[in-house]
């Protein structure tokens, strides 16, 4: 078992690393893609989950909050727990509005109306939009005093941008692109490698050799899991060095998340190769998976903005869970619940796809 695995490991790695095109695919393309995608794509944001903290008898605050929800950009989230910060930390709210302790009515009366807005800028485009919306709503909500001052003069908005204070789009794009690149490389490499063996006839030699299906499958997947993990490190390094993306969470969380994800994508690649006869078919199959996976992952378009049917499909996208994980770990320091739940889903996907490709793998040429 061990020698067989080593045999495949040595063979696959030397084949992959010897081919100049493969070297480019593995080590140059990720960095280029990272540089290209590191710059943002901004879209209109809807469905921002907003929690509001205000005193129950504070009429002015209630009116202001109603305006927020009436705008159509915000969705109400119960303000539980009493700690505005923890709502964002746990990912329950995208923004939290905090009225002054003694009521906005009273502070306005004293001429010092200040409302605090906490914004989750792990997604910078979203954070920027939230801030702009909030400013315009407040400007419209508070009637212009009889004077000539600018709109909304009565209420000052104190915005706290969390996790990504400069609101750099690269900070939230880079973790997403990391997932995209690792997904692309592992799926294409794995499916092509098995398809190439079929195309050149070496597959015949391997299945005729006295090996078990498990040995063949492990031999054809473990090398790509290792290459995929190496790419994770490369992309992470490029992201932190080129774009100074912070990595606030523990490294072991990133490692576990990457391992769960790479095992899933390599299994998907294997599955694709079981239905492909040659490298073109494997390539086509890979892209049929990769395009929707990228679009549904929430890297560029927030999943919350998608219509229900599409959002439903996004729940089957392993990339979505990985991107959620990487963003949460790198930018927010890794919330335990987000980590455990997303890793659990990825692990389940890995087991299912691996079991399916094991079942579909044929030791005959039919």
């Amino acid at each position: 078992m061990k020698t067989v695995l080593m045999a495949f490991l040595r063979k696959e790695l030397s084949q992959a690393l010897r081919d100049p095109r493969m070297r480019v695919l593995l080590f140059v393309m990720p960095v280029i893609q990272m540089a290209v995608f590191g710059y943002a794509i901004s879209t209109e944001i809807r469905g921002i989950r907003l929690a509001a903290f205000h005193a129950p008898n504070d009429a002015t605050s209630r009116r202001l909050v109603d305006r927020f929800f009436a705008s159509g950009w915000f969705l109400p989230v119960p303000a539980e727990g009493g700690d505005p910060f923890s709502l964002i930390q746990a990912g329950k709210a995208d923004a939290v509005l905090v009225a002054p302790e003694h009521g906005l009515t009273r502070s306005l009366g004293r001429g010092a109306g200040e409302v605090q807005l906490l914004v989750d800028a792990a997604n910078a485009a979203k954070a920027r939009a939230v801030e702009a919306y909030a400013r315009s709503i407040i400007a419209a909500a508070v009637p212009r005093p009889s004077g000539t001052g600018p709109a909304g003069q009565g209420i000052a908005l104190d915005v706290r941008v969390l996790y990504n204070p400069a609101m750099e789009s690269s900070v939230f794009m880079v973790p997403g692109v990391m997932g995209m690149i690792v997904c692309l490389v592992t799926i294409v490499l794995t499916s092509m490698s098995l398809a190439r063996e079929k195309e050149t006839g070496t597959f015949e030699t391997i299945i005729a050799a006295p090996l078990s299906v498990g040995e063949i499958l492990l031999g054809k997947t473990v090398p790509f899991i290792l290459l995929g993990l190496a790419d994770c490190c490369l992309v992470l390094l490029a992201g932190t060095l080129l774009f100074s993306v912070p990595s606030r969470g523990p490294l072991w969380m990133l490692a576990v998340a990457s391992a769960a994800f790479v095992v899933t994508t390599v299994s998907v690649g294997t599955l694709i190769s079981t239905v492909s006869r040659n490298q073109q078919q494997a390539m086509l199959g890979s892209f049929m998976f990769l395009f929707p996976a990228n679009l549904l992952s929430g890297i560029m378009f927030p999943v919350e903005n998608m219509p229900p049917a599409v959002r439903w499909a996004a729940y089957f996208d392993p990339l979505k869970y990985f991107v959620t994980l990487v963003r949460n770990i790198m930018l927010k320091g890794g919330d335990p619940w987000v980590f455990v739940s997303n890793v659990a889903v990825l692990a389940l996907m890995a087991v299912l796809t691996a079991a399916l490709s094991y079942r579909r793998f044929r030791r005959t040429l039919e």
Partner: protein, 244 residues
């Protein structure tokens, strides 16, 4: 090492719209060199794949014996080496890397592998080309490397699908010398070939055409029965009869 015999009983196999094998019954005795002779499309490769367990026949059975005792195929399989007809080496790996890969694939201990590899490299005279990649080998060298990879683990049965196709005459002769040495070690060899002159080198020949066995036996006796001097004449005569 057990002496392995294989027997095929009325094997039929349809591939798409072609009836590749049509009731083929053949006996391959341990320690013999069996030639599967026939023109292109006779069903040689399909039969080889059925014997190697890579294709399941639509009907009929393949049964194996070890030292004369019936043995299930799964137990014989580890002792079976199969060399496919299609290019089946890795173009980007060198001769030495192929040997290393197959050594590990077959989990060969160093004590078995080392003498075996140097013996094979000497016989095939590939020793000076150890570091050359498979894509840069000549046709004959390529085939010899393929054979070497199948022979690394001293099989009891060797299935070779057109191993000498496109190989120069000198290399072909060496190839056959190698086969004779192996047969001397009680190895069952089944070799498919379109070269009729190679038929005469086999201990038994099985003439195949369009998925059927025309005749089967010791080469000289077969030729005497057909009243011809060579096997190519047998097929040419048949083709003429059909055209007429």
């Amino acid at each position: 090492m057990a002496a392995i015999g294989i027997s095929a009983a009325s094997i039929s196999k349809r591939l798409g719209r072609v009836q590749a094998l049509d009731g083929v019954s053949l006996e391959f005795a341990a320690g013999t060199i069996n030639g599967l002779i026939g023109p292109d499309g006779a069903g040689k490769t399909t039969l080889m794949r059925v014997l190697a367990g890579l294709l399941r026949p639509d009907s009929g059975t393949v049964s194996c014996s070890a030292d004369g005792v019936a043995t299930p195929f799964s137990e014989v399989r580890p002792a079976l080496a199969y060399m496919p007809q299609a290019a089946s080496l890795y173009p980007d790996l060198s001769v030495q890397e192929h040997l290393d890969f197959f050594r590990d694939l077959y989990s060969l201990p160093e004590a078995v592998y080392r003498p075996r590899a140097s013996e094979l490299l000497a016989i095939t005279r590939l020793e000076p080309f150890r570091d050359r990649r498979a894509s840069q080998l000549s046709g004959g060298m390529y085939k010899k490397l393929g054979l070497m990879c199948s022979l690394l683990r001293s099989p009891s049965a060797l299935l070779l699908d057109e191993p000498t196709n496109g190989v120069d005459p000198i290399s072909r002769r060496e190839f056959w010398d190698l086969l004779y040495r192996l047969a001397g070690q009680r190895i069952l060899v089944v070799i498919a070939t379109a070269y009729m002159d190679e038929a005469e080198r086999c201990s038994r020949v099985h003439l195949l055409d369009r998925g059927r066995v025309l005749s089967s036996g010791e080469p000289r006796q077969l030729l005497a029965a057909e009243g011809t001097a060579g096997f190519d004449e047998v097929f040419i005569r048949r083709a003429r009869q059909e055209a007429a």
